[in-house]
Symmetry: C2
Subunit: 366 residues, 2 copies
């Protein structure tokens, strides 16, 4: 790993000019076969790997797309570790717990996976940024200088920073539908999904006293979902004002609290939650109080996290297309790069309502 070989080294070794070396990589067909093989032999002999920095500079594009997340795991307590010195094995009894913290991440994992996949398909490499620490603008600028386009989870960066960055490269916002900016957007059918689920509960299952457990206020996801729920009520001539709404924050813990409140004020026939974690927290408490789901009350969630698929009863929910969010973001980016002048686009991805045992009347045909 002395100092890395450059085109010049390879050219000298192969007895050709640097232009020919460059062509061997960029447009192999423009080089005579014998010359090409000669050059490639030198490449191997010298361990030459083209510098992407030089390439990017000369070609005015990096071939990299960026994906930027808000801080996924709270890492306040991460310490420096000297990995040289470690014990070998620890044996412990593993007590069951909720494992909530880890699951939050699946969302990001899936988006990342989808993004990487689509970037690869379009011939790009993916760079990952996480908005932790003090200075988001610095972090974002850093990554923005490295990529041809940047996709960000909505809310991970203040709008003025986005404006700044977008003067250099295309910016795509994922999940979180703002209409008051000029960025491309990729969102999911939050409102439609909740609407369809609520229609199922109301029409198919005949429930008229469904209460709603909302997410944190002022978040677009929560607003859209609640809107879908309200529309369903209205369509069945149910007065939304007559039904209580509990204000949650998407956390399981808050779900547990809300469950207690609900129990105290009387169990409705259905509890429609703005996300899965709260629904799971609610089911936990209901079950310890001897209230059966779905026999005594129906519980539904939103997101389609793994735990809802493994709970007892399994949770009826609306599955978000997480991987497709990532894919679509890269797809939109590619589209923008191919034609920078085209009008702003907002992609809205479909969701799936998954009917499982936590909602009554579940009778799979198999």
């Amino acid at each position: 790993m002395q100092k890395a070989a450059t085109v010049y080294d390879v050219a000298a070794h192969a007895g050709v000019s640097i232009a020919t070396v460059s062509r061997v990589f960029r447009r192999p067909d423009d080089v005579r076969v014998s010359t090409r093989e000669n050059v490639l032999a030198s490449v191997r002999a010298l361990g030459y790997v083209p510098s992407a920095s030089a390439r990017g500079l000369a070609a005015r594009r990096t071939g990299v797309l960026g994906l930027y997340f808000p801080d996924f795991d709270e890492v306040d307590d991460v310490v420096d570790v000297d990995f040289r010195y470690s014990a070998n094995v620890r044996v412990e009894f593993d007590i069951p717990d909720s494992g909530e913290a880890r699951r939050q991440n699946l969302y990001f994992d899936e988006v990342l996976r989808g993004g990487e996949l689509q970037a690869w398909r379009d011939g790009f490499t993916l760079m990952v940024g996480v908005g932790r620490g003090s200075n988001p603008i610095e972090m974002v600028s850093d990554i923005a200088g490295r990529v041809d386009g940047l996709a960000l989870l909505a809310g991970s960066v203040p709008n003025d920073v986005l404006e700044h960055v977008s003067r250099r490269i295309p910016v795509v916002l994922i999940a979180g539908a703002r209409r008051d900016d000029n960025f491309d957007h990729v969102t999911v059918a939050n409102s439609e999904g909740m609407h369809a689920l609520a229609r199922h509960v109301i029409d198919d299952l005949g429930v008229r006293d469904a209460i709603y457990v909302s997410g944190p206020k002022h978040t677009p996801d929560d607003w859209d979902r609640h809107d879908g729920f309200r529309r369903a009520l209205a369509e069945s001539d149910i007065d939304a004002e007559s039904l209580p709404v509990y204000h949650g924050d998407f956390s399981r813990a808050r779900g547990r609290e809300i469950a207690t409140e609900i129990v105290a004020s009387g169990i409705p026939r259905a509890i429609v939650c703005a996300n899965d974690q709260m629904a799971l927290g609610i089911m936990e408490v209901l079950q310890t109080r001897g209230i059966r789901v779905p026999d005594d009350t129906i519980v539904t969630g939103f997101d389609g996290i793994e735990e809802g698929r493994m709970s007892t009863p399994r949770l009826t929910t609306v599955q978000q297309p997480m991987a497709n969010l990532g894919r679509a973001a890269m797809w939109v980016m590619r589209r923008r790069l191919d034609d920078p002048g085209q009008p702003r686009i907002a992609v809205r991805l479909p969701v799936s309502v998954l009917l499982r045992e936590s909602s009554e009347g579940f009778l799979p045909s198999s």
Copy 2:
């Protein structure tokens, strides 16, 4: 997004030289406060973001570390999608299934998460590569040209490619202990972990007829784990030759097959598996045959995947420190970059034996 602003534009706008502009970013304290603010105002006015390509070229380092995985999800069937045109909602009954495919990924997700975290802590950005498609050498060279160091999951790339790349940048191999190369390594205590688990089964639970279900042959992970198991047998004077060994491949499906074979030839007191997926597959079949775990036979796994924590009974296993694998890889890389001349290092990370209900005698004190 016309054409992006450069140092020259900013310099002209602020009425200074490009050196001063550069200094404002690189060594702000070397610039008079009034000058600096003047420059920053121009930066904002022009939407200037420094080009990492030019930076990397001039500074001879990119500030990026790479993490390279083997193809995580089989994507043969991935199709191009036009994300503009999508339906909104689909409603469906969700039939329970094993969900095996998705879970394989958690391993990579966790390694990635840890890698990103440590890279960030060390002031680097992370670039992700996935070794899919036809030409690994091309893919690896591509990413190798972009980064200051590259960590790869062992087995994702042929050795000669690694040799080539390592002439340019440091290479760290994750999980898969080869001794016959000159790369830095990060591994887990496979052998010690399995040894400790086996000792628990043999000594604490008094089992003497434990059969072993191995992974794919010739993989270092399998070899090490099997070695730990054999050592435990030997220490208790149990003749390894007297006990059957079933050869698996780490898949749940193969676990199911093996379970059938085991049932046919008589249930032992314990079934020790080289990984969780096979153990879960075995438990599935045993339960449909009316064989109780752990009452009739103990089953143990290795890896610590999420599903083992949610199965019934929960699976006793050895938890791999997946996130720490990623962190340690970046840590080793940083170390190597700081001092290229130092001797080759092999970090071995500790594992945790998690005793859960699938192994008899589980009595948490809480």
